[in-house]
Symmetry: C2
Subunit: 448 residues, 2 copies
């Protein structure tokens, strides 16, 4: 993508030093995202002044596009009195996320300076734990009483629409704010203004509770092709909205988490360069150490077979090959099943079906590798028994790897854990151990 | 999620056998997605009749929610004359995808029975290769001439809005259909109907070409928080739209592809159970065989060190541990970097920065494992030189694994390949080989 910021920054620095108020004009025709890009690349002293030179609503749009750890820095440089004007204009979900990132004292100072209604809104949102629906919802939904006509609803959209997270769905409430229906702006436009909103609203409103996992909200929005999903309390009162752009973020976040877990990395909360060096080490070291300590069993296992390796030294040559084949086939199955579980193609009810299928796939793959392995040994050593040992071991290890790789994620899901935690190195380590035992046990049987 | 279909199916079967026309009523208040669920679970003879009993527009909504390989089966059972009524009503992007899935003869029969305009639309869409913007775009965009007033545009939305993929953005064209602006339905509602649309439209319209990668469209939509992105030809004429729900699918698809590639599986085109047994084998076997054949070098490498292993047999005990540590640290880095490249946190300009960082992380992790390894050897064997060999090898192998794991994806990206192809088993195999060479070379130096 072309970086506008690289082109415009020198002009902007010059304009700002000549006349600070002229900068707003330069930014006028740009997307908030592009302005954010410029502000992010501006020198540290200039950036807060650029932001402050914008009209507060526009500054809020720009601020929302900036990376979390840069946001915090920028707003602290702005100071409470200039910051509060911008913060007031932010979308409620982004604002709450942002305040949660701030150092405690600065956050309290900001909240104290805010309008009490907005302050209460922030406080009501920040209390939801990470990864819950509450933590990603916005409170800026547009509700209308069920008694209104279509024309009145459109009028309401006109007057308060600028504030709402989305005006594409209008939520219809009755009595003490109970959610009774939803109507899309599309339908409102298409209908006669004199009709009652009650007669055109959809009553089967999909909704979710604030304590639910954000992944559930993402699944519902995808499944029903929604733009927004209302969040309701036990009495079915509207608390907020999860919108489809939140879903995009949730899906990306969850995929990143799964990929990291699969590779035995504790998921990073920040971007690659946003994560500090020691955080990196602590996200990786525990798993690596656990795998290393677990891997010690392979050394133990090998001492059990001293007699075998002394008898046929050539066995050792193929050991790395045998165990990596098991590990590789295990990684394949694990990746396929972990992903299939994540996107809902496979669930617990399919365990037996997956098991049989993976046994068959494992056998076929194992036989393929065994044939190649046999050719290799015959070309090299011309030792029938060694070839047989190697062949049978490959079939066993690849089948075992395939089955373990597929079934461990399902077992973890069954136990209520994240299937991605059955990280592929973990499966590889387990298969290493089983590979060594199989290989040398077979060798003892066939070669001695 | 509760399965409505399990509850309703018996009632529906009964209603259908009593009076086929009564089924439409039972479905009336349900989401298309729920009806699709019921149709998917209905017996094979009943399913097409259920679909045919719905009004065509509704049937099209339902059909769009059904899994691709079930869709094909269902529509073939419907037959051309009943199918064409439903197909006519489908969203253009879903329809093109669907026709592309059909057996060639049936597809041609359907196209011949379609309205010529609709037929041309399908043919214009199916020609785009997979993964391009053209292959996911919809042609149902809403355009208005730049001369219109806001009130006229709203009137246009009212009359033709039912057909459009999204009415939330209206595209403004001038002259020979050149895209000159965009206006959101939100802005239309908020403005004075007598104002000219030209005065309220945004002129800086983000757009993309049809040959671009679908991932690029996804990135633009996310970056600029759009609901839809216009697709234009070289003359800036509007060809279609990519909408945010397509982005959700693209992001999921790409994450699945990356996870599969990272585990050395050729990405599956279908769901787990939608993929045939032999397809599965052919998606996995080539990589597994390649890794196996590549792994043969480990056996070769080990013969070079016959003298070393004969001299100190205990070296062999720790071999699996040494090489798996390198592989594990390599997998960690690879997963982190592949993902960071995919979401745009890291790009080629960061190569040097990543290199230095990963060298440092690798050294720290290697030293940690070496310390644990040393303790292990001292507790077991009390052999200082063996301990030293093991420790230095661990530091070297873990650092090497970490750096290779991080840099190979960046190298592949530089070469214009998919970084995820540097699948972690591939990195592990490479590190296996380097681990063996390092380990035994050091041993020759220190122990002999």
């Amino acid at each position: 993508m072309m970086r506008l910021s690289q082109l415009m920054l020198p002009d902007i620095e010059q304009a700002f030093s000549a006349d600070p108020t002229s900068v707003g004009e330069l930014f006028e025709d740009l997307h908030a995202e592009d302005v954010a890009d410029i502000v992010e690349r501006a020198p540290a002293e200039l950036a807060p002044n650029l932001l402050a030179s914008l009209e507060p609503g526009r500054a809020a749009d720009v601020l929302e596009c900036i990376e979390p750890h840069r946001q915090v820095d920028l707003v602290q440089r702005l100071g409470v009195s200039r910051a509060v004007k911008i913060i007031d204009e932010m979308a409620s979900d982004d604002r709450a996320d942002f305040v949660a990132e701030l150092p405690h004292d600065f956050a309290e100072a900001l909240l104290a300076a805010m309008d009490p209604v907005e302050e209460a809104d922030v406080r009501s949102l920040v209390r939801w734990p990470e990864d819950t629906v509450g933590s990603v919802m916005s409170t800026d939904s547009l509700t209308v009483p069920v008694e209104m006509s279509v024309g009145e609803v459109i009028e309401r959209v006109r007057t308060v629409g600028q504030e709402a997270e989305t005006v594409y769905y209008v939520y219809v409430v009755a009595g003490s704010d109970k959610l009774v229906g939803v109507v899309s702006l599309r339908d409102l436009i298409l209908c006669n203004p004199r009709e009652a909103v009650a007669s055109i609203m959809a009553e089967d409103v999909k909704s979710i509770g604030p304590e639910a996992d954000q992944e559930e909200a993402a699944t519902l929005i995808q499944h029903y092709d929604l733009i927004a999903l209302p969040v309701v309390d036990d009495a079915y009162r509207l608390l907020g909205l999860v919108t489809i752009d939140d879903v995009v973020d949730v899906i990306e976040e969850e995929a990143t988490e799964d990929m990291h877990l699969m590779a035995a990395v504790q998921p990073l909360d920040d971007s690659y360069f946003g994560t500090g060096f020691w955080t990196f080490v602590t996200k990786r070291a525990p798993w690596l150490i656990a795998l290393f300590v677990g891997g010690q069993f392979t050394a133990n296992a090998m001492t059990w077979y001293d007699d075998v390796t002394r008898h046929t030294a050539a066995l050792i040559l193929f050991l790395p090959l045998v165990i990596s084949s098991g590990g590789n086939s295990g990684s394949q199955s694990a990746a396929i099943i972990i992903r299939a579980l994540a996107v809902g193609e496979v669930d617990l009810s399919h365990a037996a079906k997956v098991l049989f299928r993976e046994i068959a796939v494992g056998l076929v793959l194992g036989i393929l590798l065994a044939i190649i392995g046999l050719i290799r040994v015959f070309l090299g050593a011309d030792d029938l028994n060694l070839a047989l040992t190697l062949g049978v071991t490959l079939i066993a290890v690849v089948t075992l790897g395939t089955v373990l790789g597929a079934m461990l994620p399902i077992l973890l899901e069954r136990l209520g854990l994240d299937p991605a935690v059955s990280s592929t190195p973990f499966i590889a380590s387990l298969v290493d151990l089983l590979g060594i035992v199989t290989y040398f046990s077979l060798a003892r049987l066939l070669l001695m």
